[in-house]
Symmetry: C2
Subunit: 334 residues, 2 copies
């Protein structure tokens, strides 16, 4: 199996390579693809030296699977070209997510909908993925009516330059002289920005609309209502979500916990008496989604509160794409 990783030199690309190695995802040949600017550079991965190639070079070598993490523009231009050359593309950008002809996959929940005809597969937004892992199995059992979600998102979601902004601001705050290059419109250190991605006419951000629309698409149920407030906070790695879920059907709390415990990809961390609950720091480099603070919402029937945390670069991006690739191979779709 010939695998291409497009955008191999970015923050998510780096994690994709880590995840492939850690999970032992098998390939016979690996193509590391980046922009013309990076092409020709040497890159050591898993003890072997690779030369970074351009997208055109990679297409000519006809990979079986191409995992894209190079921004929407690159995906729009090159994903169809890789697909035409016979590759199944797993795209991590937002370019194809809401395209009705493309599937949006969280493997634990809807990988089984994939067929050989799916040549461009979309990876959902980071904040959507971890929520879906947790609420998907509950939707199946109790049918979700409405979700109110507020997020606590790490700066790694905005790429390397955002991490640099945070640490430069921390250095300045510690009295060092350091230039700060702003990715965000405001200081992020010791601050909170209720602003992720671009504002839309309806007052919601694109990030909020992604959570709303992608959830419906993945659960294949337009009746699932989501309202979201997405918020950037000064953490590095790990998104947290405070989620209030109203079901159509009544639930038993012990049963609900058991469903989550039995569901793939979830680890329950919910022992408040011992200060055990999901936190971004303990989600680092983990592929699972962590769920805790599970408690009945006493203000409304059939409603529960929970707290969901995952490493946004792993389950929220890299891991999910590699899991899709694993599924394609194991199901004989490539």
């Amino acid at each position: 199996m010939k695998l291409a990783v497009v955008g191999a030199t970015g923050l998510v690309g780096e994690q994709i390579l880590n995840v492939i190695k850690e999970r032992g995802f098998h390939f016979d040949e690996l193509l590391l693809v980046a922009s013309a600017r990076s092409a020709g550079k040497k890159f050591t991965y898993d003890g072997k030296e690779y030369t970074v190639v351009t997208a055109e070079d990679a297409i000519a070598q006809k990979p079986d699977i191409a995992i894209f993490s190079a921004g929407g523009g690159t995906s729009l231009e090159y994903a169809p070209k890789f697909a035409e050359a016979g590759a199944t593309v797993i795209d991590n950008s937002s370019a194809w997510r809401m395209d009705p002809s493309k599937k949006l996959i969280v493997p634990e929940v809807n990988a089984k909908s994939l067929t050989k005809e799916d040549k461009i597969i979309a990876n959902p937004n980071c904040s959507t993925i971890q929520m879906i892992v947790a609420i998907g199995p509950l939707h199946e059992k109790y049918k979700i009516k409405r979700v109110v979600v507020s997020t606590y998102q790490s700066v790694t979601g905005s790429g390397k330059a955002a991490v640099d902004q945070l640490f430069a601001e921390r250095a300045v705050s510690a009295g060092q002289e350091q230039e700060v290059n702003k990715v965000y419109p405001h200081t992020i250190d010791l601050n909170v920005l209720p602003h992720i991605d671009v504002f839309q006419d309806n007052g919601y951000t694109k990030e909020e609309m992604k959570m709303i629309n992608e959830t419906k698409k993945i659960l294949e149920d337009d009746s699932v209502k989501v309202t979201a407030t997405t918020v950037r906070i000064p953490t590095v790695g790990g998104h947290s979500e405070s989620v209030n879920i109203e079901f159509e059907n009544e639930f038993d709390e012990a049963e609900l916990r058991q469903i989550l415990a039995d569901a793939p990809g979830i680890i329950i961390q919910d022992d408040p008496a011992n200060n055990v609950y999901p936190m971004p720091l303990t989600s680092h480099n983990r592929d699972e989604t962590f769920v805790g603070r599970i408690r009945r919402d006493e203000t409304q029937e059939k409603t529960v509160n929970m707290w969901i945390v995952a490493d946004n670069l792993r389950k929220g991006a890299a891991t999910n794409t590699v899991q899709i690739a694993e599924y394609l191979v194991s199901a004989g779709l490539v």
Copy 2:
């Protein structure tokens, strides 16, 4: 007017003195009260030297108003003694908040309920106060049915030692050798703790139950339902809240904005196109509550999302107590 500030040397006590000076709250005599350990120490305030006195000394001097910010134990023991000696006590601890014989006051919303008979007046919890300033006027107009709130709370809410923990952890993260004394059960730097105050049997924390119960009491309406998830994040000064509010009655968005704009103590910061929204950093040392991200929740009738920020040591504590004192004087109640 003889004023006593009990707990003058703490983080909130310090802010109370700042706020008194800034707002020009008039007193003829000021007693700075602290524990026996601090008594006798000299303290310079507004260009004048004071000697810190014990609670017993202060009671003997019969102050007219005593603002308490010295923890629940001190309040339980000494507030009645100050009251017996003729003082009107404004208490910043949780000791008296839910006592049915004591009033819980957010001046903008319910100061008018105070009479000369109220000798111990409770100041609500920080996270409740800022929410009430914003939702109080909306409740009056549209009647609130249910609130879903998730908070983003600063470490200053846990006192000086918590601020020290955060900065010690930042120093360690920057490569310095520094001892870290933990106030929180986990690292707070670059982390998020969905845990404020003690967990109760129902899975909610005391902080969450405060938001739920204090809101009903201040609005004098047990039908107002609140469900809360309260969360500590690595910011220093300024609590943020993502609030979803369902009303009994339909609202017009322009009218709702006008109600907030006209309400006392509120500044609307809501110009997303220019990246204007409330943030903890811009709330520092401000007495107002900032409201933004106001938008209709499209998943449910009569429901709105908003983002509320205030300086938790100011409006969430010091400012609110001083405003109560100002009201007592202006209404001739002391």
